[in-house]
Symmetry: C2
Subunit: 206 residues, 2 copies
């Protein structure tokens, strides 16, 4: 099946969203925890969290201008600088996905979904207790993408909490040991069971 | 296991790269095809390709300042504007991963890996023949991330070629039907076999 530029532009809206959202492959699935100045905890699912570098350790994620739920996350990060990124596992993926529903800012998705929050060593944003990987983040930079008015939010990893059994000798985390989710499109969840490490590649000798 | 900011900074280099690269979850796995002004086709594996919006249909990816292989991709895109993004399937994942080896610019990874290139309707960059999803891209914007001197390359989807059997009625692509890869860390490949769609979420009625 071939779609050219004009055909893509003229696709029915939901069809285009599903097609374009799923064509680039599997995405990370994480819950961002944040807190407002009024002390209301927010929790929202994101599929755009991306590795930007390991030294300094940076992660980014994208915000669309029109989205309503992620805007609470954005407001909280701008107010408080700190937020958390938490892995989603099969056991609570339904609840995690439900955080995409557009609740008012006064309502905490932790209360709605019964996902339990956790305070670790006084970190100033809520973690997800059941997550196998819990990352403490500090906001460092906001970058506008002119072409579609979306924003890249860049943060630095300031702490990392990981279940012991996931860590390999060389630091690699075996995500499949914790049934960690990956998302495709807007709502397709997979839980990879197996992982093959292919190693560092050097040029073949000619 | 808990790592604080200082502990992360002091980790052994390879350990830190593996840990930080895998902590944010599964990543997309794609091959970017591009061509130099001299007509040499380039092919390189990327795990940072991210959905930025569906109208206009935009995808972004990140380039580290120090990476050598991806710089060929970058130079080609700056010269020619057009490039392709191609899915990686289990059958040729070893060859796809081998494109991360640092070959000279005069050498085409298509030749080295025996991955077959494909010209579709005269599109000015090479596709990967065996890929189930082949995306034709046009460069639109380059954005610098000040904090670590990396770059976000933004492109518009100008054509899309997809195996018929992957497309659902509502436009969603079933990546698992083609054994499409996802990457964790630098070299961990998974091929999710199952996919659960959780649907659009509305707030619970109170």
């Amino acid at each position: 099946m071939h779609f050219d530029e004009e055909q893509i532009e003229n696709l029915e809206k939901v069809y285009r969203i599903n097609l374009i959202n799923s064509c680039s492959g599997y995405k990370s699935a994480n819950l961002i925890g944040s807190v407002s100045d009024e002390g209301i905890n927010n929790l929202a699912v994101f599929s755009s969290i991306t590795h930007l570098g390991s030294n300094p350790p940076l992660l980014g994620f994208f915000l669309r201008p029109t989205e309503i739920v992620p805007r609470h996350t954005y407001l909280n990060i701008k107010q408080n600088s700190f937020y958390t990124i938490n892995s989603i596992q099969e056991e609570f993926a339904d609840s995690a996905h439900h955080t995409s529903a557009k609740y008012e800012r006064e309502i905490s998705e932790f209360d709605i979904t019964k996902i339990t929050s956790e305070n670790i060593n006084g970190f100033p944003a809520p973690y997800v207790k059941s997550s196998s990987i819990k990352i403490g983040m500090k906001f460092v930079e906001e970058i506008k993408i002119n072409y579609n008015k979306s924003r890249l939010i860049v943060g630095k990893i300031v702490e990392l909490n990981v279940d012991d059994n996931l860590i390999s000798k060389d630091g690699f985390l075996n995500l499949n040991k914790a049934n960690i989710a990956t998302v495709s499109g807007c709502d397709g969840y997979s839980f990879p069971k197996r992982n093959i490490r292919k190693g560092y590649q050097k040029p073949n000798k000619s």
